[in-house]
Symmetry: D2
């Protein structure tokens, strides 16, 4: 960590800071910059250095971090990349995972028929959420906890793992017994209680990047789950809020190569949440081109009747076409579409 | 609600939509726009119209809302504005409220001495949070639930109401019995579970706008609390994430006059969270100029030792000066600094 | 255009607006929405309706546009897409164009050697800019107008068309006589004088989207060039400023399918400007997957000595590898890498 | 400047960089950070260090600037602040300047009557622009250069200085002979040619911050004008593009105290451009509270007939009221409204 001292600081000022480092068992060295401004380069474990809280010190102008604040999530801790298993489906290896289903479970009929189409078209896992995750302007709240048995049953019937969104630590236990994987919604990426509950569970987790979150923040949230003891963490990119695109999140595909350098965690992309139906084909192919380990898609048996997100859901025929069209891009990327 | 049909739609297409409206007990009328594009103007209760989920209909290009999706929060429902009471402190009337304290309660000594200075300098309520609200790069997690008695005791001792941040529905009951008011952190503005738990409580709530949230989203979240039966809701602006200012949130003071037109809820501003120590004086005066009903401030007995946010905390002398300097601006705005 | 009247407006109010439409030779019809709020649906040519400037009318709350404000740029005006020729290179057809070169021309030696490598590796056109386009913190200003002969000579020698950035209308004529194509920098996307000068020229133009510009703004700028009589316009996406990624623009690839629906103009992507060297491979493949008609790349014979953008320049070996790795993605997208 | 070397760099690597510094006449010292990562702290003139272009060096991870890249603009170069004169009006002292007028000059009648009202109500300078500055969806282009005599005449007749927007270096000379002050539009904040032309002129300049520009970029543009020899530079804040507020720029008032610490240049705010008519009163008072040296306002004799920005123009009665209501806030801020 570099500690930039105030303009006009003296060698004596630096000594104050150096003593504070020494007292805390860390080390530092002094370097004079131009304009009589001094620097202290602190050596020690990142967290221990931050625990000194030098940002509020009257002699300090600012801190410049050199090491990331996430240790277990960083690539160095697992240079070959990590893998996460959803039943027999392994994410993070050479196979490309397609996770698809409706934005929300609505009825047995809707979810079962969608699930069967997913199976038939080659999806590897089902999307099956039972709650809405933020305030909304209509009345549908999700089927709620009572839909959990339905989700479980259809997951078994189709032999497809199922991913369910989670937005409260209070649901982790109940969901954990009935679904394969929990997805943290972007609104909850920094929900500490939820992250801690997931850290204590042993369920695979998809952590979705918030619409205004930097990659450091995303990795700090992932670190929190890892630090709790759960190693089954994947990241998901589904777009940033920008002034230039008021009607849709801006999918940040450049985050993929950048994340791959920084972390070993498997990387998913959700092109459905990042746009309208029409753009999903291109963005899915682009995600494959950027080395994503898989995609999440919204598919509805009948988009015009969907209670949530009907304008971004593919219908079964479109989904089938998307999977077919994706294959040559996966081959180009040196990947394969795994068997369902 | 205006339902914009696809380019090239016919009168017959419009009839399909009109029938759907009629079936749902709503009404609509057809209007032809240019280019053979048709519109249907739907009349009916906003929520009922949204429940038709026409956004996914294959004949529909997009929906244009005319009424806001929040009914109880809108100004029309209380044209003279609403007031919220924190003990004897009334927010939303002619007095201007100053809520101040440390970013986090650390120790008895720290919180008690800060509280006594707040009291002496004329603060009307204490800020007293016991949890950190998002992942962080250091070790301090907040004193946690065990600090609640301390907060309660010092609130009584100083006879100052106390505001505590909340980020999980699981804490609402415990906090509710010991503090005066709960503040929803910006990360949790759309946390539905938390909003619902607050709606069921009878505690005053400060709902903080998220760093990427539009005013409609903020009001939709407020509506959720109001709809739960809790009328004691205030809004707080503390800045938006922008690319232009990577190091600080951009305080959106223009939101104040806009919110005042749209809603009757009292409006607070937190200039501390929106910037460094140096800018807080100006932003507090600017908040007063924009008609805020009060401000929240970070004050620490000794900022250089603060475990959270030391670089944005005022020290007691600075706080005292700020309160003094604020007075002429409040007078200019036709407000008064209430008695503590 | 929909004219939304103020809350509480009467039929008489609507008549005022309807008369104003009639006086201007346009038509309108009245539709009552809920809450006694009225609408007027205006029919007429978009520009003529806007020329009424009803946004300032005291009876009007807001206007909702139904037709885009760009006519010649919209896809309907050329449903099969348009093509632009840079010498023998045709952009917008089935071939994929690779335009590459240094961020700035520095010396004869640097530009000639880079150009020869570009040629050898299969680039179709040279990037060859002679000016810096915004304030900068170092001393290099570009070789300036005196470098134009060099650019021209090397373009002829390699038989490669050359693209040169332009940021002032004063340079259009001089550049036009010596280079093949002019690229409007993102800072100048809305520079009306420059757009008008380009509209009057007959040179192919690459219009780069500004870092905070919406697609409507981009197309309005393109329309301005087209309206001047120049049909040789291409668009280029190279990233948006976002708070989440303070160190790099966020490449908005979803803009490609969206632009393709809205406009017939050829679409280019510049992955170099949107990121660091490491991400360029992935983003180039992703651009191909999203149906781009070509890419622009920064390549320097020796990136460590580059006077501009050395951290994002590929070296010749990396460029060669990128072109090779791109091919299977182009095949997957139904494209071919044209012959240089 | 701190030069952060790549992870795993050796002392020998640092020596390579140190030699490069020495060769360039600068100095540096080595400091080892944790993880075997090295740093070089370079001492020397900022521009000279940047001219080494170490950002592209294969041993370098990134550069951390310690000194700002603007020298003449920084506060240290004029600790007491600078002042700019528009005729007898001095901006940057204890008086607060009100510059008001229509968004565009339309007709003699419109401009003259607005100007006379401005005079009567106490404005200190006229806003009088003759060009539109970006692509637009209607037909009005501004009166153009032929309106310059009119602007000049009415400025003399009312004895009010006049501020005219400029967006091309080609106009600087013509405008300079007829108006008092030139305002760079936000779209042109980084237009190097224009900045250089203004640097060569001796006209007072208002440099408006771009909608996505950081303060460093703004000051780098100001530096460019100052470096050209023109010391008469003022800065103007009128809002940032944000996703949260799609319909209006977000006025960044916290920029004022921050700019005041960094630069000596006078600071203006334009609340009209940052919002709708209704918010202008509050934002003008807030600008005064934040220590602005003056404001710019859009006023139209008849907003409903305005050809540009009718929805944000005040009418004369509203303007008069705003000036009156502003006074107590100015007094609170220790300012006075100067005499017209």
């Amino acid at each position: 960590m570099i500690i930039v001292l105030n303009m006009g600081s003296s060698r004596q000022d630096a000594d104050v800071i150096l003593r504070r480092l020494n007292d805390a068992g860390a080390e530092g060295s002094y370097a004079a910059a131009r304009d009589g401004r001094g620097l202290v380069v602190a050596r020690g474990e990142e967290r221990a250095l931050r625990d000194l809280h030098l940002e509020g010190h009257p002699l300090v102008e600012r801190l410049v971090a050199l090491s990331p604040a996430y240790r277990q999530a960083q690539r160095r801790s697992q240079p070959l990349g990590s893998k996460v298993s959803l039943g027999r489906l392994e994410i993070g290896g050479s196979l490309f995972a397609v996770i698809a289903g409706p934005p929300c479970v609505e009825t047995r009929r809707q979810f079962l028929s969608t699930a069967m189409v997913m199976k038939e078209c080659g999806a590897h896992a089902l999307r099956g959420s039972i709650f809405r995750s933020g305030p909304h302007a209509d009345s549908f709240e999700g089927v709620g906890i009572k839909g959990l048995d339905l989700v479980h049953e259809i997951s078994r019937q189709t032999a497809l793992p199922v991913v369910c969104e989670v937005s409260s630590e209070a649901d982790v236990r109940a969901l954990g017994s009935r679904v394969t994987c929990l997805q943290v919604t972007p609104q909850n990426m920094s929900n500490l209680r939820l992250l801690d509950a997931l850290g204590s569970s042993r369920l695979p987790v998809i952590l979705t990047r918030g619409a205004a979150a930097g990659l450091d923040d995303l990795l700090l949230s992932a670190e929190r789950i890892l630090a709790g003891g759960n190693r089954q963490v994947m990241l998901c990119e589904q777009g940033l809020a920008t002034a230039a695109n008021p009607a849709r999140p801006t999918l940040d595909l450049a985050a993929l190569p950048e994340l791959r350098r920084r972390t070993h965690l498997p990387l998913l992309v959700d092109p459905s949440r990042a746009g309208a139906r029409e753009g999903v084909f291109d963005l899915a192919a682009a995600a494959a081109a950027c080395g994503a380990d898989g995609i999440l898609l919204d598919v509805h048996i009948n988009p015009q009747d969907a209670l949530v997100g009907g304008d971004r859901c593919l219908n079964p025929a479109e989904f089938k076409r998307l999977v077919t069209e994706l294959k040559p891009f996966l081959r180009a990327a040196g990947r394969e579409l795994g068997r369902a």
